[in-house]
């Protein structure tokens, strides 16, 4: 029809309005169209994070290693916190590394709109991808730390079990989905009210102390126990510790974990998509 020979294939027509109905199929299509951007963002974040550093990627291992070192000295040697019969290093490694994965996805996603304002206010692309790239980045960091720290130390201390390896993918997925979900809920809020980014570290600190990272769940008084059976990070960390004793996580643990992850993630995506359209105007 058209004059130029190039346009023989009818062009795809896109309609944009302020219709706020959530369209899952449209979103997935859109994400698929821009799938390559996910890798580009991941590469960008990775490069951005480690340029002008001497250790470069080494920080992926150094950060948890130093943290664990401090914990071992302070809580293991000085305070002598009980470790449920696990080697002190292992006890802290399986707590610190998943915790970092959670933080690495939650913290940047909360600030993803504010932090990428320059990009978001100038170009169109599905902004969920930024959050996705943080999740992928956190997963990569986790897997490196898992392979280079948890596995060798577990073998060295003779606490390696098949369970420790087999439950890892599920636990990682739940950790990331929960973290990303919460981040996606808070990101549009933070774009409008910057109070959020000041509150999040405080909340995370509180959350950290109510998570059995530096102490075992067995040391918790009975009245606080219910919290530890719904705190997703507590469930994740306990599952890793139990795995080193050769136990599988209980079905109720798995159910709670998966439910929380799915609910957080779905709510995050829905809320984020709802505010995404006009979020530029609030920046």
């Amino acid at each position: 029809m058209s004059k130029s020979g190039k346009n023989r294939i009818p062009l795809k027509e896109t309609v944009v309005s302020n219709n706020s109905q959530f369209n899952l199929l449209g979103l997935l299509k859109n994400l698929w169209e821009f799938r390559l951007l996910l890798w580009v963002f991941c590469k960008r974040d990775l490069k951005g994070r480690y340029t002008q550093t001497i250790f470069g990627l080494g920080w992926v291992i150094l950060t948890p290693l130093i943290t664990v070192g401090v914990f071992v000295i302070v809580f293991g040697v000085m305070v002598k916190v009980p470790t449920d019969g696990l080697p002190t290093i292992m006890f802290y490694l399986v707590a610190v590394i998943p915790w970092y994965a959670f933080m690495n996805v939650l913290n940047p996603s909360v600030q993803m709109i504010e932090g990428n304002a320059g990009l978001i206010s100038k170009v169109y692309f599905p902004r969920l991808l930024i959050g996705g790239s943080y999740a992928v980045g956190a997963a990569v960091d986790f897997l490196i730390a898992y392979t280079l720290l948890i596995t060798p130390f577990a073998i060295a201390y003779n606490v390696w079990t098949p369970q420790l390896l087999l439950i890892m993918p599920l636990l990682l997925l739940c950790t990331l989905m929960t973290g990303l979900g919460v981040g996606l809920i808070l990101a549009p809020l933070n774009a409008k009210y910057r109070d959020v980014k000041h509150l999040v570290p405080l909340a995370l600190q509180l959350f950290y102390y109510s998570t059995p990272a530096i102490y075992p769940v067995s040391a918790v008084p009975p009245w606080a126990k219910p919290w530890y059976s719904v705190n997703p990070l507590s469930l994740v960390i306990s599952s890793y510790r139990d795995a080193m004793h050769g136990h599988w996580p209980s079905s109720s643990t798995l159910f709670t974990l998966i439910t929380i992850a799915v609910v957080c993630f779905t709510a995050g995506v829905l809320i984020f998509q709802h505010f995404d359209k006009n979020v530029v105007d609030t920046l």
Binding site: K6, N18, V123
Partner: protein, 464 residues
């Protein structure tokens, strides 16, 4: 040709004033607006709204806050626009008229408050410099980053990579992190990427102004070429020359509406139709200009040079000495400059610079063609310069007045654009016009040149 972009009643509301209101205020406001809408349907009042004139000087006018909730205004109101494939549309208008909002909505950066738009194919926009660049990555890596943000596949980008680098003229700098680039270099890279990617629609905001003159010219050529390939171009600029050169359609926006369009495609459009792109750019340059035919300075506030020469008044007068700002093409225009000299010290020359509204100089005239340039004696001087008709075409003009004390000193009295006037054309077939009855072409000058016409000798009028 079929359409490429089609906007239907596109509107966007923005908030005025502080951006953070308490939750209670927000709810209250929403409820009041909804009640207001129930009482008075939004659509009804709109048709009664007059089109705003271009002579408003404030950025917001009252039409933009009508029918809007409290503390809100319509940044865009009922934009109906259909752009055809391969069109090069220039969007012009004063600051705050909604150009950028329109482009932001079309680029899907923010969504419309009401209405919708459709587009066909892929849409790439270049809204500001450094769009989607990462400072730590090299120029080459950023081409890939930028390209993928605009929805291109790495294969497509690789195919065009050499072309992009060549067009940007960045050479070896392409492997340097872009945080070391100057803003001009940023624009070069950004435009090169956007222009070379295979999209059906390209949107370019006022970004090219940062590039140097040679690069801007190449960008203009590139944009023409882009349109030649059948791609559609939307171009926002304050550079009317660029719009004239590049665009085949101009849209003039003011206060969130399209007020003038060189092609009316939809029946519901309320914009004024203009014949050509240059008509619209001229009327845009003219909008907001107040003609000034006379300035008389009070004694204590007059422009003074060296405590010796004072400029007292400048004015435009006609043959009868009446001060006017509108002249016919056939009338002489007299520029009168009044100044006084205290002591015999400086050889003052009076200069008149005649410009069009865009600031292009048409001519400079000096009084030293008539008087010798010796030192001026004390006293009051009145000098008149006659711009004899026929010289100027119908249009608007400005005049700079300069009192020049000779080449030895750097200082002078210069009053830029101090006078302005309109020349109109009564279209009466006489004078320069001859018997030409139609609109006179849009040029700046219209002098009567000498035509030497050799007619063939009358011959036998016998055609077989």
């Amino acid at each position: 040709m079929s359409w490429a972009i089609r906007c239907e009643e596109l509107s966007k509301l923005y908030k005025i004033g502080k951006s953070n209101v308490t939750a209670a205020e927000m709810v209250n406001e929403q409820i009041r607006w909804m009640l207001g809408r129930l009482a008075r349907p939004l659509r009804k009042t709109q048709s009664a709204l007059p089109t705003p004139t271009t002579n408003h000087h404030t950025i917001l006018d009252e039409l933009q806050t009508q029918d809007a909730p409290d503390n809100h205004f319509w940044s865009l109101r009922d934009i109906n626009l259909e752009v055809e494939q391969g069109d090069r549309v220039g969007i012009i208008g004063p600051n705050g008229c909604g150009k950028s909002t329109l482009l932001k909505i079309l680029s899907r950066i923010t969504s419309p408050s009401s209405g919708l738009f459709r587009f066909k194919g892929r849409l790439v926009s270049l809204l500001e410099i450094g769009t989607g660049f990462h400072g730590d990555l090299s120029g080459r890596e950023n081409i890939f980053l930028n390209g993928s943000i605009m929805g291109m596949k790495p294969k497509e980008i690789s195919r065009r990579l050499e072309e992009i680098i060549e067009f940007s003229e960045l050479g070896e700098l392409i492997d340097t992190p872009v945080k070391r680039y100057s803003s001009g270099m940023y624009v070069r890279l950004a435009f090169s990427v956007a222009a070379h990617l295979e999209s059906e629609i390209l949107i370019v905001d006022e970004v090219l102004a940062v590039g140097d003159a040679a690069f801007q010219r190449r960008c203009a050529d590139k944009m023409l070429q882009v349109a030649d390939e059948g791609r559609t171009l939307l171009f926002v600029s304050h550079d009317m020359d660029a719009v004239n050169r590049i665009c085949n359609r101009a849209v003039h926006m003011s206060h969130g509406r399209i007020i003038e369009d060189s092609r009316i495609t939809q029946p519901q459009q309320t914009a004024v139709h203009s014949a050509s792109v240059s008509d619209i750019t001229r009327s845009y340059i003219r909008s907001g200009i107040r003609l000034q035919q006379e300035i008389v300075w009070p004694a204590n506030d007059a422009p003074v040079f060296d405590d010796c020469v004072t400029l007292n008044a400048v004015r435009l007068v006609d043959e009868q000495g009446t001060v006017r700002n509108e002249f016919d093409v056939k009338e002489d225009i007299i520029v009168e400059v009044v100044f006084s000299v205290k002591e015999e010290k400086w050889p003052i020359n009076v200069h008149i610079h005649l410009k069009d509204l865009a600031g292009h100089y048409l001519l400079v005239s000096m009084d030293n063609s008539r008087i010798d340039c010796g030192k001026r004696r004390p006293g009051r001087y009145v000098e008149r310069c006659r711009i004899a008709a026929p010289l100027l075409n119908a249009g608007d003009f400005k005049i700079d007045v300069e009192l020049w004390p000779g080449a030895e000193v750097d200082h002078r009295i210069l009053q830029p654009s101090i006078l302005s006037f309109t020349v109109s054309d009564d279209s009466h077939p006489s004078g320069v016009r001859g018997n030409w009855p139609n609109a006179w072409p849009g040029c700046l000058l219209r002098p009567e040149l000498q035509w030497d016409v050799q007619t063939p000798a009358p011959q036998r009028s016998s055609l077989p």
